[in-house]
Symmetry: C2
Subunit: 422 residues, 2 copies
């Protein structure tokens, strides 16, 4: 009894996924304060110039630059101080020839001013400002509209909002923003051997823990996770759980029970629920080759293998691109990357036609970032514990050379910005 | 009237901060499910071997390797199938010579087995397993303790917990973990010109928005932010607000009102509250030179300037290292970094004795990552909108060369993993 597995190219699998799934990005309106890490659903345009008009870059005295053209240490120029402009008002009158006005950092400049002398470079005596150096036109002046121009698109649709973006939106007068609605993902752990109860661990049960990783990966990717718990190896029960997941969520993840062959109850359960059922089972991805997905009611059911590295890889290559697409993220296919040199070679004895995932630990060497391959079979959790990100070896390559510069792909939830900090 | 500012070296300022502040890291016990992104307060040690014992890497037949030594296509070896081991049980008896037992991926192997034949490479006829190739000792066997060894330290104190770390902790049987308690930071926006009400924006008021950036930076750094709102330029009111902040939080941030000179009400307010009061005001950091901090009741009061790039830089160089230290993070001084080549030169006309911060946009060029300096004065929000991270130019250097390889420092809240993805 040999099982024949038709392994599908990863890119082809993704095309099929995008073709079969009928989900589309949707939006919701959210108070701007709660938009951190959310994805903009529409371009954000500015209705105003920022700054609204010319303002001072320093505390000092605003002047007409031409009045100071001949100033020198031996023959300082004196200007008449006509008042001050704070931060809460604008000057009422334009500045006339021979006059200066006191300003603070950020004060809007009166018309006529085209330069500011920092207070350290001027002397105030009674109502006279004494200046010993010429002021260049535009010196210490922040021009109106120099930061943001009216009608500019300041943030693009599909941009993930950082702290400064929220500040910008608020500065532009937005109290709420239209952002992508996070897709909801239901997670089901399949296996009669699984338990959530540490007291049951021993000869007959093992703890279900991969759901934790998938939950955080979904949420870091920008979705919402609903953990539906553990389901035994029983076709009807699995089928009902997936059905429940499809009711409550936009996508379902099954973890485990995905071995291709007689015990492949997950595929049978998916096929029972409707057309097209299982679309891809068996991926040209190593580790991860027993992964796949089905589509039911236009929603994907991801078949994640039970060995942790395969679980994670299948998520990265199948689910993560879909979540990014549903969020409308600018980049649909990948996240951040750092470049590093391989600290050791890696040879693959098999999997010529496959994409190979090598998890590496990035560290700072004398000549820059180095990528140390983390060795270990796909069930080994310790590989992911040691890792910073993964290096992808394409089809028809069976070696990563020592010293070769590689792209290390960072994965939300698994990688952290600080992972390779000293 | 000239003001004399004593600018303090950034590293010296940090030493003074660490010396004057009496705060120390503290811990709390948290259910493991809620430990994502928290910082371990103690080394995590394993009490068990993982896997608990030898297990199979594939679905197939577990054998004694020596029984198969002479197997070939022309003369296959036949072994007697004596049963099967699923995932929920262990075999009761050791495997005897000439026997095979059916196993699943993850099944614990009976004693005596030292190799597994994947089911694709064996044929089952009635109760006989037919094998045409020798099985190497250890083939497809995942050794007990090969993932995690008993008594190993699996995660170090000071490690920030990722998805896979939470899974590991749970796998090791921990239902809760001792993690660092997040320091609480109170945030006060100072300025009579500020408002929270968009309806008041116009001639006389501007929106307070920098508190949003600082809130997110505090939280991304691992702290908790309490926004105490806007305070007018009034010594007593500022002093009371800081006092309230010190009651409710481990540290206080004032934003704005920090110009060195006559309107420096924040320093006066800090000095009014107790010794040592203002410790550093004026930093050899550009933008950020009017930043500083005081210490009252052993807690820091950070004086953040009001121009946004200075606000952010002061946070990055003063507050962030303290928060990291209070969390006990392994790296107290910095976060992630990527290396890139300067796409343009940057020249500094002044600030020879200062550290210079240049915000850059990182993008993928033909030869790898490039860093494009984002130009703009320190009040310009758009610089931070365009940025990926910052390049630091040290004292006594006044130029970054085009083509020079630089470290681009990533800042939590401001930078994102995906910022430079295509």
């Amino acid at each position: 009894m040999k099982s024949e597995i038709a392994y599908t190219d990863v890119d082809e699998a993704l095309s099929k996924l995008f073709a079969e799934v009928t989900l589309t990005p949707s939006s919701e309106t959210v108070p701007v304060e709660h938009c951190y890490n959310r994805v903009l659903f529409k371009d954000l345009r500015s209705d105003v110039d920022i700054p609204f008009k010319n303002s001072s870059h320093v505390d000092g005295f605003a002047v007409r630059a031409e009045d100071t053209a001949k100033a020198s240490k031996s023959a300082p120029v004196t200007l008449k101080l006509v008042g001050s402009v704070g931060l809460v008002e604008s000057a009422e009158k334009p500045l006339a020839k021979g006059q200066a006005i006191k300003v603070r950092t950020g004060s809007y400049l009166p018309d006529g001013c085209d330069g500011v002398v920092p207070k350290e470079y001027a002397t105030l005596e009674n109502n006279t400002v004494i200046i010993s150096n010429p002021v260049n036109e535009g010196a210490e002046v922040v021009r109106g509209g120099s930061d943001i121009k009216k009608d500019d698109i300041v943030l693009r649709k599909g941009h993930k909002l950082r702290a400064q973006d929220i500040e910008l939106a608020k500065t532009l007068g937005h109290s709420q923003l239209v952002v992508s609605r996070p897709p909801v993902a239901a997670i089901i752990s399949v296996g009669s051997e699984l338990t959530d109860d540490p007291a049951e661990v021993g000869k007959s049960k093992i703890l279900a823990t991969h759901d934790i990783v998938i939950t955080h990966m979904v949420e870091e990717a920008g979705g919402k996770a609903k953990d539906l718990g553990i389901i035994p190896d029983d076709l009807d029960v699995i089928s009902k759980a997936i059905s429940q997941g499809l009711l409550e969520a936009s996508m379902v993840f099954t973890i485990g029970g995905s071995s291709v062959g007689e015990a492949d109850l997950v595929s049978a359960a998916i096929n029972k629920l409707g057309k097209p059922g299982v679309v891809v089972h068996g991926l040209k991805l190593q580790p991860g080759r027993v992964a796949g997905f089905g589509v039911v009611q236009g929603k994907p059911v991801f078949i994640l293998p039970g060995l942790i590295q395969s679980t994670v890889n299948a998520f990265v290559f199948l689910a993560y691109p879909l979540i990014r697409r549903l969020l409308g993220l600018l980049s649909a296919r990948r996240d951040g990357v750092v470049y590093a040199k391989m600290a050791d070679a890696v040879e693959f004895r098999r999997w010529e036609e496959f994409k190979k995932v090598t998890w590496v630990k990035v560290y700072e060497g004398i000549d820059g970032l180095m990528a140390q391959p983390v060795r270990g079979e796909s069930p080994m959790l310790n590989v992911l514990i040691q890792t910073t990100g993964y290096v992808l070896t394409p089809e028809h390559r069976l070696k990563l050379e020592k010293g070769e510069t590689v792209a290390v792909n960072l994965v939300p939830g698994i990688s952290m910005l600080s992972t390779y900090a000293p």
